[in-house]
C-alpha cells in the first residue's frame, strides 16, 4: 500500500533530504551552528543529542515552523524553502510532534482524512453540490484513511474520537496521519516518549515496516537503545553543532559523543588522574 520508490535502482539517487549550513539563533543564543545533513533515501536516520542540543529546533526548521537564519534545503535533489509550514508538507515532509498534537475532538478516521487535504483538490462548490468528482475523491480519501489505519493497526478505533485512544495508539494515529500526506520523508519527533517497553517494541516494528515499504524516516529520539537498534546512520548534535555522524557502532565509540553524553570528566583516564592529583 505504500508504494516503493523505483529510484533506489538508480546508481546515485539524490538524498531524500539534504541541508547545508543551517544556522538559527534565538536572541543571543545560537541554537544551531552551520549544520550539514544528508539523509539517504529509504533509510532510517537518527538524530540524537543531549537535552537542549538543538534537535527539535532543527526539526522545526526543516518542517517550516521556525525560519532558519541561513541554510540551503533540498528534498530529493529539488530545492525547497521551509518558510510556510503547509508548503513543506506539500513538498513532501510529514512530521509528528513530541507532545502529541492530534485533532482531539475529531474521529480517528477524520484525523487521517484531514491529512489527505494536501493531495486532494475539491473545493467549496464541489462540496455543496456533491459533484461526481467530489464523491469520487471523498471515497478515495476514506479508503486511503482506512488503509492507513489498518497499516498502523488501529482500524478498529476508526469511529472513536481521537482523544479517547490510549497513549501508544495516539502515537500510531499521528504516524498514520503523517503518512496520509504521501511524504518523501517521515520525520518523527520523539515517537517513543512516554511509551512502555511493549509499546516501544511495537513502535520499532512499525518504523521498520515503514522503512521496508520504501519511506525515508528521520527519527529524533532520547531512547538510545531504540535509535541504535533502528537507524542505519546517526547524527549527533550538541550545543547546536554536529559533533558526529556515522553508523550506530561508530557513533557509540566516538569520544566527542561520549563526552557530550557523560560530561568531560567521564573520560576514564582524565577522571582517574584528576582524582589522584
Amino acid at each position: 500500500m505504500l508504494e516503493t520508490h523505483p529510484s533506489t535502482v538508480e546508481i546515485n539517487p539524490p538524498p531524500a533530504l539534504s541541508v547545508k549550513g543551517v544556522c538559527k539563533s534565538f536572541g543571543g543564543l545560537q541554537a544551531l551552528k552551520d549544520i550539514d545533513l544528508n539523509i539517504a533515501q529509504g533509510t532510517i536516520h537518527g538524530l540524537i543529542g543531549p537535552n537542549g542540543a538543538g534537535k527539535t529546533t532543527f526539526f522545526n526548521i526543516i518542517s517550516g515552523l521556525y525560519a532558519a537564519d541561513a541554510g540551503e534545503f533540498r528534498l530529493l535533489g529539488k530545492p525547497y524553502k521551509p518558510s510556510q509550514v503547509h508548503e513543506v508538507a506539500r513538498a513532501g515532509i510529514a512530521r509528528t510532534f513530541q507532545n502529541i498534537r492530534l485533532f482531539k475532538e475529531m474521529s480517528v478516521l477524520e484525523n487521517v482524512m484531514v491529512a489527505r487535504h494536501v493531495r486532494t483538490h475539491s473545493g467549496l462548490l464541489g462540496a455543496i453540490f456533491r459533484t461526481p468528482a467530489f464523491k469520487r475523491e471523498e471515497h478515495e480519501i476514506k479508503l486511503r484513511a482506512y488503509a492507513l489505519l489498518d497499516y498502523v493497526g488501529i482500524e478498529r478505533f476508526a469511529s472513536l474520537k481521537a482523544k479517547t485512544l490510549s497513549y501508544g495508539d495516539q502515537r500510531r494515529l499521528e504516524i498514520a496521519r503523517a503518512l496520509a500526506t504521501d511524504p518523501h520523508l517521515l520525520a518523527l519527533d520523539e515517537p517513543a516518549a512516554g511509551m512502555n517497553a511493549t509499546e516501544k517494541v511495537e513502535l520499532k516494528n512499525l518504523i521498520e515496516q515503514i522503512q521496508r515499504d520504501g519511506k525515508t524516516v528521520l527519527l529524533i529520539e532520547h531512547d538510545v537503545k531504540l535509535v541504535m537498534g533502528l537507524c542505519k546512520t546517526i547524527t549527533v548534535l550538541d550545543y547546536g553543532t554536529k559533533i558526529a555522524q556515522g553508523s550506530p557502532s561508530q557513533v557509540q565509540k566516538d569520544p566527542l559523543v561520549i563526552k557530550a553524553y557523560l560530561g568531560s570528566s567521564a573520560t576514564p583516564t582524565t577522571e582517574s588522574s584528576d582524582q589522584k592529583s
Partner: protein
C-alpha cells in the same frame, strides 16, 4: 462497530437524529404555522423571527463551531445584508441621488433574484475584509477585534447620513419592497379560493425553505475536505498547518461563508420588516447568536438549530409568563427586566447541567455507517 457504539455511548448523550425523527421534524415545521395561526398571526411572526435566527446561528456556527474562530461581531454581516437589500429595494437611494432617480424613473425595485445574491456577496466580502487583518489572532484577542468590527459597522450605519445621505442615519430606511416570489408579493394574503394564507405564513414557508437549504449546505460542508480542514484548524492550528493545510485561505473561506449566511438572513429581515435601522444590529444581537450556538451544542447542526429556536422563541414565550407574574406583584416587577432575568437563569442552569450544550455532537462519528458501506462496496468491486 455496532456493539462498540452501544457500549460506549453515554447515558446522557442524545443520539443523532434518525430518519424518522427528521421526517417528523419536517412535518412539524410545515404544519406549525397552521397551528400557530389559531393563536393569532403574532405567533407566526415569532416563528418567522426564530427561523431568521436559525439562519444566523447556522452561519456563525461555520465560523465559531467549525473553524473555531470566536467572532463576536457577527451581527455586522446581518446588518450589511439588511442594508444592502434595503438600499437596492427602497426609495432611499433614489431620494438621495437624483441621477439614480433618473436611471430608475419607477423607483429602484431590484428583483429578489438579483438583490439577495448581491446582499450575500457583499456580506461575504465584508467577511473577508474582517478575516484578512485578524488571521493571526486567536481566542480572546480575535473576539475583541471582531467585537470592535461589529460596533464599527453599526456606528457607520448610524452616521452615514452626512455628508452624503446613504443610510439615512438613526432614522433608518423604510418602505423596503417586500419579497416577490414568482409574481406573488409575500406581503399580501394569498387567496387560494377556499382559504387565505396570511403574509406571515408565506414568509414562514420561504424562511423554512431557506433554513432547509442552509442546513443541507452546512452538513455537506461539514463532511467535506474543506469542513474537515476547518475543524482541524479549530482543534490544533499548528498540526493542521503541518498536515499541509493552508490555514490563511481556509480561515478566510470560513469568514466569507459565515458572512454570506448572515447577509442572506439580513436581506430576508429587511424585506420582512420593511424597515431597517442601526438599532437592530447592536452588540447584544451578536451575543445572543453566539449564545444560541453555545447553548445548543457548538459545531453540531441539530444542537445549533435547537439553540437558535429556543433562544429566539424563549423571550416571546416568557413575555406571556412575565405578564401574569407582574400582575401578581402589583406591577412592581418590570416585564422586560423579568424576561431578561428568566433567560439568564435558563442559560446559566443549562450550562451548568449540560456544559457541552443541550444537544452536543455524539462521541462517535456519524459517518461510521457510511464508511462501512464504502468498504463493503470496495469488497464487492
Amino acid at each position: 462497530m455496532q456493539t462498540q457504539r452501544t457500549q460506549q455511548s453515554k447515558p446522557l448523550a442524545l443520539a443523532p437524529p434518525s430518519l424518522g425523527l427528521k421526517v417528523l421534524f419536517t412535518a412539524l415545521a410545515l404544519l406549525l404555522p397552521i397551528l400557530l395561526q389559531v393563536f393569532g398571526n403574532a405567533w407566526v411572526r415569532i416563528a418567522d423571527f426564530a427561523l431568521l435566527y436559525v439562519l444566523l446561528a447556522l452561519g456563525l456556527n461555520i465560523v465559531v463551531g467549525y473553524a473555531g474562530l470566536l467572532d463576536m461581531g457577527y451581527v455586522a454581516f446581518f446588518a450589511v445584508g439588511a442594508y444592502m437589500y434595503a438600499l437596492l429595494a427602497s426609495p432611499q437611494l433614489t431620494n438621495a441621488f437624483p441621477w439614480i432617480a433618473a436611471m430608475f424613473p419607477d423607483g429602484l425595485h431590484t428583483p429578489l433574484y438579483v438583490a439577495i445574491p448581491l446582499s450575500a456577496l457583499f456580506a461575504g466580502m465584508f467577511g473577508l475584509l474582517l478575516g484578512a487583518p485578524t488571521l493571526k489572532l486567536r481566542g480572546d484577542y480575535l473576539a475583541v477585534v471582531t467585537l470592535g468590527f461589529g460596533e464599527i459597522i453599526r456606528v457607520f450605519l448610524n452616521n452615514l447620513d452626512r455628508p452624503i445621505n446613504i443610510t439615512n442615519g438613526p432614522k433608518g430606511i423604510g418602505e423596503i419592497d417586500p419579497l416577490t416570489v414568482m409574481g406573488f408579493p409575500l406581503s399580501r394574503k394569498l387567496d387560494l379560493g377556499f382559504t387565505e394564507i396570511p403574509s406571515v405564513t408565506l414568509y414562514y414557508y420561504l424562511f423554512i425553505v431557506l433554513v432547509g437549504f442552509s442546513i443541507l449546505i452546512c452538513s455537506r460542508l461539514e463532511h467535506s475536505r474543506i469542513g474537515r480542514a476547518w475543524m482541524a484548524i479549530r482543534e490544533d492550528e499548528i498540526a493542521a498547518k503541518a498536515m499541509g493545510i493552508n490555514t490563511r485561505n481556509l480561515k478566510l473561506t470560513a469568514f466569507g461563508m459565515g458572512a454570506t449566511f448572515g447577509g442572506v438572513s439580513g436581506a430576508m429581515f429587511a424585506s420582512f420588516q420593511g424597515f431597517v435601522s442601526p438599532e437592530s444590529f447592536s452588540l447584544m444581537e451578536s451575543v445572543m447568536i453566539l449564545g444560541m450556538i453555545v447553548l445548543g451544542g457548538i459545531g453540531y447542526l441539530p444542537g445549533v438549530v435547537l439553540g437558535a429556536l429556543l433562544l429566539a422563541a424563549l423571550p416571546e414565550v416568557l413575555r406571556y409568563v412575565a405578564g401574569p407574574l407582574q400582575e401578581l406583584t402589583g406591577g412592581r416587577l418590570d416585564a422586560a427586566i423579568l424576561r431578561q432575568l428568566l433567560i439568564a437563569l435558563a442559560m446559566v442552569s443549562v450550562m451548568l447541567l449540560r456544559p457541552r450544550g443541550l444537544w452536543p455532537s455524539p462521541e462517535h462519528a456519524e459517518q461510521d455507517q457510511i464508511s462501512n458501506d464504502d468498504q463493503a462496496e470496495e469488497a464487492h468491486a
